[in-house]
């Protein structure tokens, strides 16, 4: 087919064996990677979900300290963006995904041979510091006049929908017992979930955008990854009952064509080590053993 030929042309011979996938993104990646770091150093390129930005930043400094001569380059984007880039031949050494599905896709494309989960991330409710809607628990979310969530096509949006579903079932069954949580009783304005959906003003493609809207006070409440709510963020975090929380499972894998598979393995090992897990926990992630 013509499209196949064209894409193969774009991909270049080196990448042609990768079925139907172009390589322009790879070129862009190469230009980017080539530009930073000095040549004598080993450059380890880690493509990681944006929710890992802060935790991996700390781990990067630690790793570089322990491995002189190694420069860790972080490429952060939504997992789905990284997945598409990898499917189209973007170069790198390690891929860390915010869910299993995108990792599976990258494996199906033949870019990763082995992977495993390394952390879980929970969700959190966030409100602006002045909390204009006076929300103190998830149950009071319908008090907000403007709610911003992640779009259901991205992991955080999908988890949020699952969370709302669980909460819906829970609050609608327990509303009589809990009392006072929902504005004037839970069922008056429809179910919990329907009330929340009614107040959603935007479904955004990534967590940072969602957070920004809360920080600027434009949204009264939002649901994001707990790991994204760092101390630097001007928002107030309201914990979600553990029984309702839906955990995102983070997966990591080494790219099959990594130029430094040995260093890459050391990075993956750091994630699993107890110091690594401690850093992840500091940033709102849940260690796998804890659940």
């Amino acid at each position: 087919m013509m499209s196949e030929r064209l894409q193969r042309f774009a991909a270049g011979r080196r990448l042609a064996r990768r079925r139907r996938r172009g390589g322009l993104l790879a070129l862009v990646g190469l230009l980017g990677a080539g530009a930073c770091g000095d040549r004598s150093q080993t450059v380890l390129t880690v493509l990681a979900a944006s929710s890992l930005t802060d935790a991996f930043g700390v781990l990067e400094r630690r790793f570089e300290g322990e491995h002189p001569g190694t420069d860790v380059v972080m490429i952060h984007a939504g997992s789905q963006v990284l997945r598409v880039q990898l499917e189209h031949g973007a170069p790198g050494d390690v891929f860390a995904s915010a869910n299993a599905e995108h990792m599976q896709a990258v494996m199906a494309a033949g870019r990763v041979a082995q992977e495993h989960p390394f952390a879980r991330g929970g969700l959190a409710l966030v409100v602006p510091p002045d909390n204009p809607a006076g929300i103190e628990s998830l149950e009071q979310l319908p008090r907000a006049s403007r709610v911003v969530l992640g779009v259901p096509e991205v992991p955080v949006g999908r988890y949020t929908q699952a969370l709302l579903e669980q909460a819906d079932r829970y609050y609608n069954n327990h509303s009589g017992l809990q009392g006072g949580g929902l504005q004037g009783g839970s069922l008056q304005g429809g179910s919990f979930r329907a009330q929340v959906q009614e107040r959603v003003v935007s479904l955004e493609p990534n967590v940072r955008l969602v957070l920004a809207k809360v920080e600027l006070g434009e949204a009264d409440a939002a649901i994001v990854y707990r790991s994204d709510v760092t101390s630097a963020r001007a928002v107030t975090m309201i914990p979600i009952p553990a029984s309702l929380d839906v955990a995102a499972e983070y997966h990591v894998g080494i790219l099959v064509d990594s130029e430094h598979p040995h260093v890459a393995r050391q990075w993956v090992e750091l994630l699993g080590s107890s110091p690594g897990q401690a850093v992840l926990q500091e940033h709102g992630f849940v260690s796998l053993d804890d659940r």
Binding site: V148, E153, L209, L216
Partner: protein, 277 residues
């Protein structure tokens, strides 16, 4: 004799080859992504994309908001461009430069800036409340990002209007306003229409500022580029097909605008010929 001329022509052609090659290279670079997009989708997928639940609301919203923002830019941008083109002072130069600023500022930064101005805590909030997440926000983002393209083109067009034409129009009894409408605008019309087409196209493709400032909600603030991005998060193939729909709509409109321009020029020419027959 002819042989000599032929060889000279050939040598000239060879010398021009690198330059021509560069031009062709650029053209290929511009067209190839579009071709790739077109070839990546089958007609069936394109048809399915039209039926995708996100597409029709987004397409409708895009056409509606871009028509409105183009209208705003034309009505407000034309007098502004006229003033810039006609004024000689340093204030006018400053305005001219600042009008073009949004072209160099990344759209996402414009989006943040708009959030600060029109948000709940912005300086205008006491009077107009927050415009974030509303259709107004979509409109404002498009105007800010696209208007410079129209104003720039209109200024160039108005600069091309000979001073004497206007003075003659005035001596013939036209007020300065009439001289503007009956002489300056028709004479600069090709530049105005070219700028308008560019402005509309930019508004249609607007993504970054809208995403930050207006958010993304189906049927309300989710324009076509935002819908493409949202589907891209889920399924790349659908996203490509949806993108192709946008591309076709844009292409159709621009071709129609071009045809309209030619028709206008021809009818202006024959309008003179049609009278009193």
């Amino acid at each position: 004799m002819t042989g000599e001329r032929l060889s000279r022509g050939l040598r000239g052609g060879l010398r021009a080859l690198p330059v021509v090659g560069l031009g062709i290279g650029l053209w290929v670079l511009l067209v190839l992504p579009v071709v790739a997009l077109a070839l990546a989708s089958s007609p069936g997928e394109l048809w399915d994309a039209l039926g995708h639940p996100k597409v029709l609301p987004a397409l409708g919203l895009s056409l509606q908001t871009t028509a409105l923002s183009l209208g705003v830019v034309l009505v407000a941008g034309t007098p502004l461009a006229w003033w810039i083109a006609r004024s000689r002072g340093s204030v006018a130069r400053l305005v001219e430069i600042t009008v073009e600023l949004p072209i160099v500022i990344p759209p996402a930064v414009i989006g943040i800036a708009l959030l600060l101005v029109f948000g709940r805590h912005g300086p205008l909030a006491p009077w107009i409340g927050s415009l974030v997440f509303t259709r107004w926000a979509v409109l404002i983002a498009q105007v800010v990002v696209a208007a410079p393209f129209y104003v720039q083109s209109a200024v160039a067009g108005f600069r091309g209007v000979d001073d004497d034409l206007l003075l003659v129009a005035r001596t013939l009894g036209a007020t300065s306003r009439q001289a503007f409408l009956r002489v300056a605008v028709p004479v600069a019309l090709p530049a105005l229409l070219g700028g308008a087409a560019l402005c509309w196209a930019r508004a249609l493709g607007e993504f970054g500022a809208t995403l930050l400032f207006a958010g993304s909600y189906e049927g309300k603030t989710q324009t076509m580029p935002l819908a493409i991005y949202a589907t891209f998060e889920g399924d790349l193939r659908v996203a490509i097909a949806v993108a192709l729909v946008l591309l076709l709509v844009a292409l159709l409109t621009l071709v129609m605008a071009r045809a309209g321009r030619r028709w206008l020029a021809r009818s202006a020419a024959s309008a003179g010929g049609g009278h009193g027959r």
